[in-house]
């Protein structure tokens, strides 16, 4: 546990140093570049691109979360139950539709740039969050939901004081899945001129420069691992805080 945390911290520091002073690693990446090729990506600041990449993922995930959690709440209320099948298939469509196809379809409408990427990531992120929220809200211990009614909480009080807090760890694990998928998928946004780390990879592929491909890939990969771990830790913390750690382990 301690060692794991230390390793992650070191990885984070190395990543930050690389993003701020990429030239520090020129020697290492020169091993992968052919003679005469620049070892470090030189068509823009890696830090800027990374931040932009993260911003796109964050925006899309926040939007997915709001809509997916909202939908799941809606369809688990008595008045919204009839929309359950509809919203389930909607979210499923979002998931089965290849992001590339969404991009292709969105470009004529939204033009090139960030917008079509955001739409694709947003649609792609809906399902895991929706499904997890649904699971979280419907798999609460029956005695607990019963008690919430029995003490005289109104529907909204039950949702806010009991159901959501208890479902939060499960919802968060859906968000974690979505985030990591988006982080990787965002790279293809560069094909429609969104400013993401895909740009670095594509530049490497066109110029036949393995060092670029490696840089883009590594940054995305490291980010994914770090964010995944951080959110997992947050989930475990919430599980313990809500007295459900035993339940989760069982």
């Amino acid at each position: 546990m301690r060692i794991g945390l230390l390793i992650r911290l070191i990885v984070l520091v190395v990543l930050l140093v690389f993003l701020i002073h990429p030239d520090t690693f020129a020697g290492f990446f020169a091993l992968f570049a052919k003679a005469g090729q620049p070892p470090i990506y030189n068509q823009g600041s890696l830090l800027d691109i990374t931040l932009n990449h993260l911003a796109i993922v964050l925006t899309a995930t926040v939007a997915s979360t709001i809509i997916a959690v909202g939908l799941a709440i809606l369809v688990t209320r008595p008045f919204g139950a009839e929309f359950l099948p509809l919203s389930r298939s909607l979210a499923n469509v979002g998931q089965t539709f290849p992001p590339v196809a969404v991009l292709a379809l969105a470009v004529p409408v939204l033009g090139f740039g960030t917008a079509p990427t955001l739409v694709a990531l947003f649609l792609y992120g809906l399902l895991p969050i929706f499904e997890n929220t649904l699971t979280g809200l419907t798999n609460l211990p029956p005695a607990v939901t019963d008690a919430a009614k029995g003490v005289g909480m109104t529907g909204w009080q039950r949702l806010l004081k009991v159901e959501l807090p208890l479902a939060l760890p499960v919802i968060l694990s859906g968000i974690r899945l979505s985030t990591v998928i988006s982080l990787a998928t965002a790279t293809i946004g560069s094909t429609v001129a969104a400013r993401t780390l895909g740009e670095v990879i594509i530049a490497g592929l066109t110029a036949n420069n393995t060092a670029f491909v490696l840089q883009g890939g590594l940054i995305v990969g490291v980010l994914a691992v770090l964010i995944y771990d951080a959110l997992s830790a947050l989930e475990r913390f919430l599980m313990a805080r809500t007295g459900q750690l035993g339940r989760a382990a069982a």
Binding site: A143, A147, V151, G152, M153, V162
Partner: protein, 311 residues
């Protein structure tokens, strides 16, 4: 007063509660007994609208509960659920404070009440108030569940097998606490149990249910002496009848004059315990004391008469 008027609940094809009528007087304890699946929980949950009846009506102090919003009704009725149902993400103190908080009590009053209840149920507030339910034993969780139900001093308390997970010692203590609270606040209690002993000890009246039907609703003496059907007799246990009858009386009410030798009995003990003591001591009579002073004797012959079927 709770009036249950010809109430029926049908799930699918079966009447789980079948035309039950029952009047529970204010300040009394009605204990519902019956085999598993006989509809006890369902009947009880119709009183606080957790289950909607198929037909019939329930009135509380003359007011039809159909006209009261469910959440409002439930805040007035304490409910200790089968299997406690504590909120796992809230501390013991927060759990107990739930209904007072919903009712808008002020903070200091809530804190006092939580402290008072924890103390009443032998859970040191300093030690237990800030624990999460999963940091308690099963028996402690159950007691907190009952404390939560009592928190807002409801007039009516519904209890579904509240003492199932308690060991005999704590259980006896919890029963005495409940009786004390009930007498003090004149709470009307509806309690479900599988334990006939508990039913006879706690019940002002006992309601016996089988397959959704109410077979008998009467004072314990009558249920024991004149069971209305063979099923009721079987539930009481025919071999246990004389002892159950004795357990209803206190030595204080059957003291005879005279002085005898032997370890004295307190006037407050039940006739059943006195009978056990007499048998164990091998004597035909034992002295009875009140506040440490001998005030008479209790005899085996007298107890044998009292244990016989009432005419």
């Amino acid at each position: 007063m709770i009036e249950i008027d010809d109430i029926t609940k049908i799930y699918g094809e079966t009447a789980v509660v079948d035309r039950v009528s029952l009047v529970i007087d204010p300040g009394t304890i009605c204990v519902i007994v019956g085999t598993s699946g006989s509809g006890k929980t369902t009947l009880m949950r119709m009183i606080n609208k957790l289950v909607d009846q198929t037909s019939g009506a329930i009135r509380i102090d003359g007011e039809d509960i159909a006209g009261i919003p469910a959440y409002e009704l439930r805040r007035r009725i304490g409910y200790a659920i089968q299997g406690h149902g504590l909120f796992p993400h809230r501390t013991v103190g927060q759990n107990i404070a739930t209904v007072p908080k919903l009712l808008g009590w002020d903070k200091a009053k809530i804190a006092d009440r939580v402290e008072e209840l924890l103390t009443l149920f032998q859970l040191d507030p300093a030690q237990y108030r800030d624990r999460l339910p999963n940091e308690l034993s099963g028996g402690q969780q159950q007691r907190v569940g009952v404390a939560r139900a009592l928190a807002a001093k409801p007039n009516i308390l519904l209890m579904d097998e509240p003492y199932g997970a308690l060991d005999p010692v704590i259980r006896a203590k919890a029963q005495e606490d409940l009786l004390a609270v009930q007498r003090q606040f004149e709470t009307t209690i509806v309690l479900v149990t599988h334990d006939m002993e508990e039913a006879i000890h706690l019940g002002t009246k006992i309601a016996v249910m089988d397959k959704g039907k109410l077979l008998q609703h009467d004072v314990p003496q009558q249920i024991i002496a004149n069971p209305s059907t063979p099923f009721v007799a079987e539930l009481i246990g025919s071999a246990e009848r004389p002892f159950r009858l004795l357990s209803l009386g206190k030595v204080a009410d059957h003291i005879e004059p005279g002085e005898v030798a032997g370890t004295p009995l307190d006037a407050g003990v039940s006739l059943r315990d006195a009978y056990a003591e007499l048998l164990w001591s091998g004597r035909p009579a034992l002295p009875v004391t009140r506040d440490g002073k001998v005030i008479g004797q209790v005899t085996l012959a007298q107890l044998a008469r009292l244990a016989a079927r009432p005419q």
